[in-house]
Symmetry: C2
């Protein structure tokens, strides 16, 4: 079921964003397209859009309960979400609890190393530059954020981790790392935007020790491990088991 929507505003690799009849609201359609390695690897995964949308809605409602500002307004269909219009900051904000992925390719820190306190990595979101890592000083030169917003950004990302890490732990899942995109809303407040799903979080089954079998996120796609949708479905099943049905937003 496709909700009424206005013109397409933006199409990304995994989502389309449409205008609505309200200036301050946008409709997001979660697509079944899967991409990795800066879109060098592509596939269509049936049901991925619905699963990521449904998981995201529930996680955004958890953030809401924890008073963490985000763009979510409600579901508008199985793979449709109504969100606040925000100005997206072209950064990828990554929190890592355990070393994996690019951190291990870019440093001698071994896969699986526990990071205490959690590591905050900020990348510049630009496909032509392959999303490069930014140091604090480079971020400052780019002048994308005020100094207060730079502080707020770090605090916001840490609060999301403090909310989601124990939440996933109760579901038998280790939140290895996750990527946030942040936006600035009409009032100037920094809010969590985009999605929170197995596309943007690394999640390992706490009861499985095998390094591949435990993976329940997009790494199954990146590493050709198979069972991608089954893993996303498992995440959804566990999240759904402890969350109320997300509200509808018509």
């Amino acid at each position: 079921m496709t909700p009424d929507h206005g013109p397409l505003l933006y199409e990304g690799k995994a989502k389309r964003v449409f205008c609505t009849n309200e200036e301050e609201r946008l409709l997001v359609e979660f697509k079944n397209d899967a991409t990795a390695f800066n879109a060098l690897k592509r596939a269509e995964l049936k049901d991925k859009g619905r699963l990521n949308c449904q998981i995201s809605a529930r996680l955004f409602e958890r953030l809401e309960e924890a008073n963490i500002p985000n763009h979510y307004l409600g579901l508008s269909g199985e793979n449709w979400m109504m969100v606040k219009r925000v100005e997206i900051i072209p950064l990828e904000v990554v929190i890592r609890n355990v070393a994996a992925g690019s951190l291990c390719r870019e440093s001698p820190i071994a896969l699986g190393t526990k990071l205490i306190p959690e590591l905050l990595d900020i990348y510049y979101k630009d496909d032509t530059l392959a999303d490069p890592l930014l140091t604090e000083a480079r971020l400052e030169i780019l002048d994308l954020l005020s100094s207060q917003q730079r502080i707020d950004l770090g605090n916001l990302a840490l609060k999301v981790n403090q909310c989601l890490k124990p939440f996933f732990e109760e579901l038998g899942l280790l939140l290895v790392d996750f990527k946030l995109e942040l936006g600035v809303d009409y009032s100037g407040q920094l809010v969590v935007a985009d999605e929170i799903s197995p596309d943007t979080c690394r999640l390992w089954d706490l009861d499985i020790s095998d390094a591949n079998d435990r993976i329940l996120d997009k790494d199954r796609f990146r590493k050709d491990l198979g069972g991608v949708i089954e893993a996303y479905g498992e995440i959804f099943k566990r999240v759904q088991g402890v969350c109320t049905k997300p509200r509808n937003y018509k």
Copy 2:
């Protein structure tokens, strides 16, 4: 003329390091080998070893005059330098006054952008990882330095810039950026090691506006601009013109 030396301790891409009959002193031979792009590009450039050794000796003596601790003891031949034995820290410490090179490939900061204050970038020195950029937090996780040494490292690099930038300016040269390697000496002090030469500094002729013609450093080799040795010779000529003959260390 090859000075008396003991066994080879280490061979890098541009230098060989030999033991001497004194535990605390090492002999460094500057080679004519030129490499770029993590040694994917290689050449032998006649006279490069001598020029870099002679330029380095004079620059280290400038640092010495400015009370900036470094490993230099004296020249021991045309392309041989006696240095203090230090424990090299596996970092490349880069100071940038103007955006060029990897900064422009890794961020939207345009070539030639003035960086005020200068930008400090720290890379992990590891060919197998292609010398990745480190954030402050990643550097802390690697645990290569005490927190005092991390502060000292930044201050030392800035002091080198404060010494060399105006020095080169008087020679009609813009010190665009430079890479330092640091070591810890027997007393635990952080010192500038390695070399300071057109292999490790970007230097642009201040009187030439053409973006390629002004380059007087290793970028001539990286970019296949030709005239590499002529450029290094030009730097040597200007440096030599204002410096006394470096001391010999036998």
